[in-house]
Symmetry: C2
Subunit: 343 residues, 2 copies
């Protein structure tokens, strides 16, 4: 008895109580294709219920392919991440699969460590959800780890921007940025500041490039567009906006934030500094997290289909390997009260 504290009831106990062999009990409880006599079946089911038997997933996993999916997320407290994860959880459950969730708090070496850790669960698929998956950041080692996992028959799905050759689901970040940029240009804003987040993050860089493309298409000149970089998150937006306000806004009539949390932080700082949104400055975000409709003024943003991404990710994860897919989801503009028309 290796761990005496664990007198779990096993298939043996159920079989004994039902007066049948372990094989028969297994066939009844394990959903085998083989038929067993109705009477035996009833006895086994009754015994299992009486003893509150639950199958040992570890032992089962040694014989059957496991039906669990490991999910590695950057940061569960990020609202956009939470929506994706919640959708995955729902979808996986309806498909009868387990999901084990881990968060890496954006540390790159933690990602590697977490992948190694979760590989031990021999999951059917590994779903990575992050904005950090650029090839150079991979440093080779994470890539090798994922490759070897796939060679062992697992499936890797990446949610977010990536240039790796795994199944992936991404958002068209450039188009989303362009949507916001074009709208702001069309509504008469002549000078614009972009809160570009962290330059090294590929999706942030794409959104920023999209902003510029949209603004230029709407007639703004290069010199009317300023870009500042900030931590991605409420605090980063807050700090960037505070600095901007302290510098007298530099003529900015609009702030294009790289996502909703940055935009919301920025609005908070503007309010504290006595800068009125949208009368003094328009603010836009990207994502359309639920919160975007709750702040005052409600945030104009580009809605990304976050829940759909979660659903599709699980679909990919459960598909038979062999196919290699890449899905790109488009955002759509949601105009609310944090922006207004100029002139």
């Amino acid at each position: 008895m290796p761990h005496a504290a664990r007198p779990t009831v096993t298939l043996h106990d159920v079989a004994a109580a039902a007066g049948v062999s372990v094989s028969t009990a297994s066939r009844v409880l394990g959903g085998s294709t083989r038929k067993v006599a109705p009477e035996y079946e009833a006895r086994v089911l009754a015994a299992a219920a009486a003893l509150r038997y639950t199958v040992d997933a570890a032992a089962r996993a040694m014989r059957r392919a496991s039906d669990s999916i490991a999910l590695i997320a950057d940061d569960l407290t990020t609202p956009s991440m939470a929506m994706v994860v919640a959708a995955m959880e729902r979808q996986a459950r309806t498909a009868g699969a387990f999901v084990t969730v881990s968060s890496t708090m954006a540390a790159s070496e933690r990602q590697l460590e977490t992948v190694r850790l979760l590989r031990a669960l021999r999951p059917r698929a590994l779903v990575l959800t992050s904005s950090r998956f650029m090839a150079n950041a991979f440093d080779g080692r994470l890539l090798k780890e994922l490759d070897s996992y796939e060679r062992e028959g697992g499936r890797v799905v990446i949610v977010g921007e990536t240039d790796m050759s795994f199944d992936s689901i991404g958002f068209d970040d450039f188009a989303a940025g362009r949507l916001a940029g074009a709208f702001v240009a069309e509504t008469g804003h002549r000078r614009v500041t972009i809160f570009g987040g962290v330059r090294e993050l590929r999706n942030m860089a794409l959104r920023t490039a999209g902003f510029v493309a949209g603004l230029r298409a709407g007639g703004l000149a290069e010199r009317d567009i300023r870009t500042v970089y900030c931590e991605v998150g409420r605090q980063g937006g807050f700090d960037a906006a505070r600095r901007l306000a302290e510098d007298g806004m530099g003529g900015a009539e609009a702030v294009l934030a790289v996502n909703d949390m940055v935009a919301i932080g920025a609005m908070s700082a503007f309010r504290a500094a006595g800068v009125a949104v949208p009368d003094d400055v328009s603010v836009t975000g990207i994502d359309d997290i639920p919160l975007a409709g709750d702040v005052t003024p409600r945030l104009t943003t580009v809605a990304l289909p976050l829940a759909q991404a979660g659903v599709e990710a699980i679909r990919f994860a459960l598909e038979k390997p062999g196919t290699r897919e890449r899905l790109t989801l488009e955002g759509r503009l949601i105009v609310r009260e944090s922006t207004r028309t100029r002139d």
Copy 2:
């Protein structure tokens, strides 16, 4: 070969490559207490690295006590829940334990089903995070399931209000409500409406009772306090506030909402109806989710130590069984701009 698609590299392969026995390889890789010769150790480690060996958690779990903790949460997208869960995840990781997360979306029968499902993982502990755990709601079956799990040596920890006899971590909901009620009474509000959430939820009922107690202590009469019930969440607060505004506010100078999301929804509806916060009506919440500081006006609320609750829950979960603990955490008042003094 049960699943041919899984040519995983096993301890046997490593041992063979290193020219040692499986036992020795296991001792090196499994962190045994037994010593092995430095040379053998080096050979095993080299072989493992070269073959990209990862231990099979399922097989290991059959011999060792598992170090995973199963977490069953109501709804991961709720901000307060997300904070608790994130804290648990962090804490568990520093303690070297896995956390697997599942959400039940508040359906009572799903809770039972989820518990049964996760028991299959033979986790060291089961942490239930929910506001729905009232004894009558348990219906006997969930209680029996948890009891039998505990009898098998597992540990059950409940985060939230409960009258069940498991380890539990709760917030002093009554005191939190009283804090808000007393503050509103002290700042000169004469007529108050309570947004009481769902009457059947124990923690909501306690907060509401606390509101009343605090208001009465501050000198308000029974007839100056109105209580309406609403769905718990942003939408519920929004609807309740819209109805209140349509009815001409019924003289209410303050709205005490049962949590921050309800309060934020209410503020949103008030704004849409042209009711000014805090000039026409003060609004308070409970929880102090990060969002509370981002809305306009920033929300006066009672801060609950959500992250601490997560940390303590994991501490309980990892403790040796035998002790039975109940921890109650106190909130503290955070005054912001959604309230003002009357007269």
